[in-house]
């Protein structure tokens, strides 16, 4: 697991972006495909950030989990 400070920072940004997406979905009513794409991009962004922080902090578990999750998210784009 990443350091507590970094974890809190990443999770707060993630939740803020998700809330922003949810609010814009309710107010602007964009097409479903765009919303789904935005959620996928958000999760890809989150795990890219955890991958970089994990590399910086030399946390093997966090790096492996982020890399596996990133591969699955990219694969789910095409399935």
């Amino acid at each position: 697991m990443l350091s507590q400070n970094q974890s809190r920072y990443l999770t707060t940004i993630g939740f803020a972006l998700l809330a922003l997406l949810f609010a814009s979905d309710l107010l602007l009513k964009p097409p479903k495909e765009l919303v789904l794409l935005a959620i996928d991009c958000l999760s890809a962004l989150y795990f890219t950030a955890t991958l970089f922080v994990g590399l910086k902090e030399r946390k093997k578990g966090a790096v492996v989990a982020s890399a596996v999750c990133l591969i699955i998210i990219i694969a789910s784009f095409f399935i």
Binding site: M1, L2, Q4, Q6, S7, R8, L10, T11, G14, F15, L18, L21, F22, D25, K32, V35, L36, I39, D40, L42, S43, Y46, F47, T50, G54, G61, A62, A65, S66, V68, C69, I72, I73, S76, I79
Partner: protein, 134 residues
């Protein structure tokens, strides 16, 4: 003569008493032969049987049984039948994502950023499933 009358009345009484339990059953059998058209219900002028069924209308009687069966079993208005419904293509594709990517995201969130990350990944997966289904 009196004896004769008495025996006829008692025989009729006995017969009526013996036959009483079978009368409703016989009436039900007689009713089954009635044409199904008589029980048809008006569903509106714009009713289209091939319309896109929303999630809340899944499991209607004619989705699983014949029209004749539905008419004869009290489902003439095609209300939903309490039973398992096979998922359609859209539902299957929407569920495939949380099964694979969603589970991976929640585990990765827990491993990388702890309980907060797990919660965030769960919220994201739920949001994706909701958007896909509705």
């Amino acid at each position: 003569m009196k004896k004769c009358l008495l025996s006829i009345v008692s025989a009729a009484l006995c017969l009526s008493l013996v036959m009483t339990p079978f009368v409703p059953v016989a009436a039900a059998y007689a009713d089954e032969g009635s044409p199904a058209e008589s029980s048809e219900i008006y569903v509106g002028d714009n009713y289209d049987e091939n319309y896109d069924i929303s999630l809340f209308e899944r499991g209607r009687c004619t989705d699983s049984y014949s029209k004749a069966w539905c008419d004869s079993h009290g489902f003439a208005n095609n209300r939903t039948v309490p039973h398992k419904v096979k998922l359609n293509v859209k539902e299957e594709s929407c569920l495939r994502d949380p099964y694979l990517a969603g589970t991976a995201e929640v585990i990765a969130g827990l491993v990388t950023t702890g309980p907060g990350g797990g919660l965030f990944a769960t919220a994201m997966t739920s949001c994706r499933l909701f958007t896909c289904m509705f």
